[in-house]
Symmetry: D2
């Protein structure tokens, strides 16, 4: 019931603050017998790391993960996995200034109001740094999904008004914005740098597709697969909207347009279109799962903004610091991790659906 855990049977609990000693995650419910090593998890962490390029934050964290429990002789044992990353490049000096000010678009005001106290250094718990634990846990989840050949791929679909015009997944990891359209990617980078120079930030849209999905994942009526995916995505700080399949386009569709007709595809039941995004009645159909998320511009900008201080007096604020001018490229591994966590949880839960 408490807020820092996610998942029912493959359950993670993240802990740690941006400028604390370390940050980490506990995974409880990982099945025994899964091959797991540190190097594998490290690779996923490296994908979300800061300092990757000039379009990301320059904070220099090596983000070296340690496995403190739950693995013996290279395999999971069914006991909790404790994964930890030490915070190294901490520079809290710049935050003293914001101690009594509420940064617009950030969680400073709401944390202070809810708890009566907040660790203001680097955003404390509400920092994107918290997602280190998610990505580490997501790597383990991806390993479970890999046993079933389920694969998750995320990419940047749009930055500002620049849209990818084609989806070539082999391009995604080759450019700094993770755009599956190389040319659009170049434009996106250009636009981000422009915005960055002006002391501003910019939003975008990220799409995720999942292939190899097994029909049957999802537990009606409240733990629907799409509902759980939505909650997972909205749990990422910058996300303000989500679409499944045709998403908001369904508003203008007729039923005869929107319904995905079934047909026999060489012995397998399939649909010709996929407006449902691979989910019907909250349960996976076996078709590709496809979702899109709206990513807001990073709230930390160096332009002067109006705000109030902790006693409610009007004030202004200028935020210099190590921030991402556009969070899309680095949100992708986090969104993939959350998707992996949802799917793994439902994959396991689905084992209980029938008398066997």
């Amino acid at each position: 019931m408490v807020g820092n855990s996610f998942g029912e049977v493959f359950r993670i609990t993240t802990w740690g603050e941006s400028h604390g000693k370390a940050i980490g995650v506990i995974i409880d419910g990982c099945p025994a017998g899964l091959h797991l090593d540190k190097g594998y998890i490290q690779k996923e962490l490296d994908r979300r790391r800061t300092g990757q390029s000039e379009v990301t934050s320059p904070r220099k964290e090596s983000d070296k993960v340690e496995i403190l429990s739950g693995v013996f002789e290279g395999k999971t044992t069914g006991t909790p996995l404790s994964l930890m990353v030490e915070n190294k490049d901490i520079d809290s000096s710049g935050y003293e200034r914001f101690k009594d000010l509420f940064r617009p678009g950030h969680a400073d005001y709401t944390y202070q109001t809810k708890y009566g106290i907040r660790d203001f250094r680097g955003g404390g718990r509400s920092s994107a740094r918290e997602t280190v634990g998610r990505v580490a846990a997501g790597a383990v989840a991806k390993k479970v999904l890999g046993l079933e050949n389920i694969k998750i791929m995320g990419y940047t679909l749009q930055i500002g008004s620049i849209k990818a015009k084609k989806i070539d997944l082999s391009e995604t990891e080759k450019n700094e914005v993770r755009c599956p359209d190389r040319d659009a990617g170049k434009e996106m980078i250009k636009r981000i740098l422009e915005v960055k120079r002006s002391g501003d930030s910019i939003g975008g849209i990220v799409e995720l597709i999942v292939t190899g999905v097994i029909p049957g994942l999802g537990e009606p009526v409240f733990d629907k697969l799409d509902g759980d995916i939505a909650r997972a995505m909205l749990s990422i700080g910058a996300v303000k909207g989500i679409e499944i399949g045709a998403g908001f386009d369904v508003a203008t569709f007729l039923g005869s347009q929107n319904n995905d007709e079934f047909y026999n595809n060489k012995g397998t039941i399939a649909t010709r279109t996929n407006n449902s995004g691979g989910i019907l009645g909250g349960i996976s159909t076996g078709e590709e799962i496809k979702i899109r998320i709206a990513v807001k511009p990073t709230p930390s900008i160096s332009k002067t903004q109006k705000t109030v201080n902790i006693t409610g007096e009007d004030s202004t604020i200028v935020i210099h610091g190590r921030h991402d001018p556009c969070i899309c490229p680095r949100i992708i591994p986090v969104a993939e991790a959350m998707m992996a966590l949802v799917l793994t949880d439902h994959l396991l839960r689905n084992k209980l659906a029938r008398i066997s």
Copy 2:
């Protein structure tokens, strides 16, 4: 962990199938001492009932609610509330035909695949009739919220390509599509009837606003208020997308545009804009909560559709029955109920945030 419960401390469990004997909900965790009577709940149920107008399904259910437990001398006692509605106007004969066919856009195929069995009569558990329990429970939740003057209002923003051009909340309940723009409402009704005559259905967009919200609702980092709202909305059968505040528009925004600046509003901290939709860092700010949901066209249409039967053979299907040509008007009380459940749950949870 099982799928038919919603909420952590104000927890509901719905049960029942479309053509079973009855349908109902258990509410556990409702605080003791709340004044509650059957008539009050009945009013909310009447708002979602079928047969209200020619734009809704003609199934004639009086939907009379009974309170079987948890209330004594007009007040809740802290023990579970059991609310039940009998199914009266059941006509399963028309469904025998679909017994072995998978209706496109419905959950027939996924339920059959997941469970190896399904109650095909009227969609069984996946029928919109399940939402009777949600609305009944939502009425109780609204009562709890009412003690704090928190108020939820839903309305139809768009049907097909017809959009409300103004928001006059006093109009909403006066027209059959629950549109806050009377003129747009008329056009919407016309369009729905046109589509209905052609044997088709149509989608739309519903918006919800919540006023009187207290700052502090939401539990980071995974039980964020927006995440829980998203899950709640996506748990409604026809919903394919959700936006919080500015939603997908944030993709094109700069940080300086999107950030809601704080100011001192006669002694209260407030924001001048509300792109965040009243939620920052997963916690309510106290501003109006605003969300929009994408509602797909009802999948039951009387046009001929291609599909497969239970053994995977290609076939066709024509669905005559008692269906809503557009589900937007009747989804509103359901969406409001889900919003009420999320907010009540978080309102109670927030009492535990601090040492007092």
Copy 3:
């Protein structure tokens, strides 16, 4: 988190008060495909019914169960089962007198203090009548266990100072106190009637054994099988203690006495003794599970007792009504039901222990 649910993946929620309209249970998480009919559940309910003999309460309830949802064509569908029993023989008149008095040994005082309100009629929610739902759900659980040949048998081991001297399980259901020793059973009945005549009640000890248990049930370190059994048993109103295996005798044992040595029993790993009661490290060993529970004398007695009223003034009370002079015989089906629920839950959860 709310208190009226039990189980994690095979989850029940009971509802209803002693003198309300009905009483019932929702089972969520019952696997699809289980054969189930009303008559089967009815048999278990009949075992806990009042009015069975002169050693039980004379309240005349036929306790006819209805299955309102979750079963289609004789099989479970994976959706929630709603089981309901109407309250028929309600006579609340006798309780008006106790409206403002706290009956010693009952939950009147604690409910009133916690909730500020209580349904005083027949004990309201804290009545043993609530266990109707448990027994109905337990019957379903027993059906799941039956597929694995797991069998639960409860019996009365002791009433007052009269102890069973032998365990002949074929005798248990043949006598009114469910004693596996026919002669001791006769003495027990005699003693109960004697106590009843004097306006008093008496306690006892009930033992449960489970055969056919599969090794591996139980989830360390907090959801241990023995811990969950203990909680289940203590959730029954009259239970004040529990022992697993050798129980309190271990206090005087040496390690060399207490340890159950393993040996190869024709190809299966077994233990020669069973002081552990079939559970090691919170996980079933495959040996017989054996537990004992301490059952307090029914608090409703017709002797004059001192007490206070709702405003705290000293007073006296005499309780005439329809009560069991000894609850042991009727607690047995309830204890078996709770055991069945714990085991079914862990049987299902154990399917997730390993990569398969």
Copy 4:
């Protein structure tokens, strides 16, 4: 649902193996604003440490706790507390021998059977070392309880057949077996050393009392206070039974003996006797809570025992190592911690019982 978490709103998750790098606990749901420092937690850890005396295991662990998150400027912030203790004095060499053998009375066989793999070094996850995390979390819980003047005191009541004849709580922490009767304590120590010399171990009984309890703690009907205490106690490795209040003595009691009559004690409702152990209907009465637990003799003994190996072949085993000849003295801080966790959880949950 997964097994390594305890508590609903004050929720802990322990992690770590006996011979892993570290061991720890996450506390989620600790209210913000609680004063907390490392030194305070350390004191409780020191009470459970090995190497305290010749009646405890000689393993030399300093058990220095680190607070990795959740505390800022000396106060909790409402975010997860991560507490960690490094394992220093690890000597796994002695365990290689037991790699393929199942130690009688230990969880080796059940872990191996359930998970197909186990960390055999020092018992791995099933080691008593796991309780470090519990005691650290329990210290935090005690701090919350302290704000309400709720106090928990545990002591050794019996070792083998030697019983405390008087309860002088000021004596408890002065002797090595934590016996509240100084003379009995001396005899107990003598007996333990005797047993130790013979290569054996011995059991006992530990009692806990809680003073200052507020009426109203506990959530019927399944999350009863006594049920949750029972589960908490049985989750401790060596515990095989629990009694609440009069416990198994109720079997021989008449109702008129067992019922605790209420009276007005200078304006407060109280009971003259306390057979109920301070709990009625699963809710605290405000009287002292009193429970007793049966503690089995440590299964690690140096006498030759029969057992089987991993392939099921008969074998023998002799366990030399660093073990407690009697675990009672060191189980006390663990049992107190578990009691503190249960009470804190229910103290917080009780805030939600009524409309306020």
